[in-house]
Symmetry: C2
Subunit: 199 residues, 2 copies
DNA sequence: ACCTGAACACCGTTCAAGT
DNA sequence: ACCTGAACACCGTTCAAGT
């Protein structure tokens, strides 16, 4: 029976879960599957696209239910994401890569965006708030995991995370009167244009 | 004349700036400095601590001035950070590692924390707000850089970033009546304890 | 004090050739 | 369609030995 692509992704996710990114090499993955390294390149384009699919798998079991109370649903969802990703070494980094390269590929983030809409956040602010919250979840997970791998303490990490979430959600719950921001934007905009042309 | 540790860090930062993480190898760095790979290990403990020091260097030239208007200073500072890190390929990831492993080593983040205090954010919320904002800056930079490296479009990235900043700062400017959050915290706390014991 | 030589145990990716 | 063999051009880290 030939190797299936799903088998490749599953085994890669399993390898990440057990040993982290350092041991998730194409060669190690191949030997785990009983094939030669080159065989993997028939199933995936390269290691990066493999990682994007692994990120998807890591969050696949997080339920996306709705209760009618958006703020509470968001808090529940974020806690579930943290609980799912934290035990996977380098999970924060891998999921962040997935979100960067294909924000809609991970179902759970699409759902988060919806819940933020339900909260009454409209238009451009909805995308901005989603990014803000996703960066905060994944950033705080990655930081904690980096510290763990380095043998440093991580006390209070989850409490600090929850406070950060509260700071954002308290704001989003109420109607906004946002009108400023213009001044600071200028030079950043210039940088972006330079970089975007290079693409 | 023997090699100095500063020379090693400077050359590493230069290599990152020009070619990104993929070309910042200990071997490439050594040959750039005209020495054998092993020589580097007399100057730095390993590659990770090298990267933490490189992160420091990338942000070393961002000025930390105060004007008396904290909200404006924060916006200016964040734009300056973005402008400094964005042109350095993989800069977002490297600086995030530095912030995770040693949050006080980068002067600019210590200054940010101070400005947030000036804004009237007290106690635990000050650390939480700093983390939230730093994760947002570095997360949005890393996402944009990942997309650039993959050849994907990054239109509107800086506008989205600015909106995220505005969402947070609008809230922090005003006094808070935060009291909830408890419910969602529980299970996360459990996860943390498990992980922290494993360390 | 500072570095070389040389090794150890690895990487990701490509591609002709096999079945 | 799916995989092997074999190569290409690399990695980080260690450590005896040299100067």
């Amino acid at each position: 029976m030939p190797l299936s692509t799903d088998e490749v992704i599953d085994t890669a996710a399993e390898l990440l879960r057990r040993h982290g990114l350092a041991d998730l090499s194409m060669r190690r993955l191949a030997s785990e599957l009983g094939v030669r390294p080159g065989a993997l390149y028939w199933h995936v384009e390269n290691k990066q696209t493999l990682l994007v699919r692994v990120a998807d798998r890591v969050l696949a079991d997080v339920p996306t239910t709705t209760s009618g109370a958006p703020a509470r649903d968001i808090r529940r969802l974020l806690t579930a994401i943290r609980t799912a990703v934290l035990p996977v070494p380098d999970g924060g980094e891998v999921v962040a890569l997935g979100y960067a390269l294909d924000p809609t590929s991970v179902q759970v983030f699409v759902h988060l965006r919806r819940l933020i809409g339900d909260l009454g956040v409209a238009g451009r602010d909805r995308a901005a708030a989603t990014d803000l919250i996703v960066h905060h979840v994944l950033g705080s997970i990655a930081a904690q995991q980096d510290r763990q791998l380095a043998g440093l303490p991580t006390r209070g990490a989850s409490a600090a995370f929850d406070r950060g979430v509260a700071l954002v959600l308290d704001r989003l719950g109420r109607p906004t009167e946002t009108t400023e921001t213009a001044g600071a934007t200028e030079s950043t905009e210039t940088t972006d244009r330079r970089q975007e042309e290079a693409t």
